[in-house]
Symmetry: C2
Subunit: 215 residues, 2 copies
């Protein structure tokens, strides 16, 4: 029997819940896999509105995994200079088969120096910030560069994870998983991207973020 596929998902305070769970719902279907929720301390971590997910593993207890997942969220800025987090990211990436980020999780890859010669993406409103670490940022939903996959904001983790699932298993299996989760998206509005949303809505979020960053 093949070895178990170990998947490590980073948690931190004020993570974005859907960054974690969209991808989780897909990757948890990898046969003979085990998912570890990893953080500095084994405890419950809260997103910004109070949902609590338990980290079952610490950095010390999980120094390596096959797939490393870095989600984003408003709390990301508070850990970009945390040497324990950055050292863990560097260490697990050195041994991973795949290292992936969702949304602003790409900033962690950047802060760890892993995006220097890489093509990458992130949440549309984090691109300026990511540019300090990465000179080739695209508008793609997700970008594969070697063993690093970065994805756009929040919900993009679902699309990226289905693609990654097809690489780790096979395309037919990924299609079955998509059918099982009835992922046949029908958003009620067409405002999911700055390409399609009215400029005033884009500006509203940009300004909000400036306010958040200033506090």
């Amino acid at each position: 029997m093949e070895d178990e596929t170990k998947i490590a998902i980073l948690l931190f305070d004020n993570f974005t819940a859907l960054d974690v769970v969209g991808l989780y719902e897909v990757l948890s279907k990898i046969p003979n896999s085990r998912i570890y929720f990893v953080s500095e301390t084994v405890r419950a971590y809260k997103d910004s509105k109070g949902l609590q997910i338990i980290a079952d593993s610490s950095f010390d207890s999980l120094p390596a995994a096959d797939i490393i997942v870095l989600p984003g969220g408003f709390g990301i800025d508070a850990i970009l200079n945390n040497s324990r987090v950055i050292n863990w990211v560097k260490g697990v990436h050195a041994q991973s088969k795949w290292t992936v980020s969702v949304c602003s999780g790409a900033l962690l890859l950047g802060a760890a120096g892993l995006l220097k010669d890489c093509t990458a993406t992130t949440h549309w409103n984090r691109k300026e910030q990511l540019a300090q670490y990465c000179s080739n940022i695209t508008d793609d939903r997700y970008v594969v560069d070697g063993k690093i996959i970065t994805s756009a904001g929040v919900s993009a983790g679902i699309d990226m994870a289905l693609y990654l699932l097809s690489l780790v298993t096979n395309e037919t299996y990924a299609k079955v998983v998509q059918l099982g989760m009835e992922y046949d998206p029908q958003p009620p509005f067409n405002t999911g991207s700055p390409r399609t949303a009215p400029k005033e809505l884009v500006d509203l979020i940009k300004n909000q973020r400036k306010i958040n960053a200033a506090t």
Copy 2:
């Protein structure tokens, strides 16, 4: 100031994580709202692959809320005859402004007798089971009937929640939230529905479910 909007999300063992979190990511953006994760006991609940979300409230401590959310998952069958769950659903529904289900969560509404004269939907592979409680089941992504909204499988909760958000707040606000979560879906495959997936993939899941149900 207007009263806080109370949102109660039911948890149970073997819930589907994305049923909960897709919708949560959207509804948690309702201004002046608070989300309660409710179950029989205040403890962590595991989905089928080990993700643990903490239920912060018990049925006794939360007998009423403005929006009631019933997610689905493989664990739903084990609680359809649980009188404490069913009585809580009946009680909170009697006072709610909105009662919504994601995926097989509709079966709980059915078991509570709330879908008798209702048009509803559920996960495509749960429709036969739902038919024992509901005579008008549709293929829609989500269905609004009075104050009850039911949605299709797993990921459909995101679409439904954005629509509900537009009703509870306003359409512009819901559009901003969609942009913030970059919900511009680009699934890598076109197999998210039995309408579009090859028949052999549909049969594969149907047979799998029969196997699950038999064990």
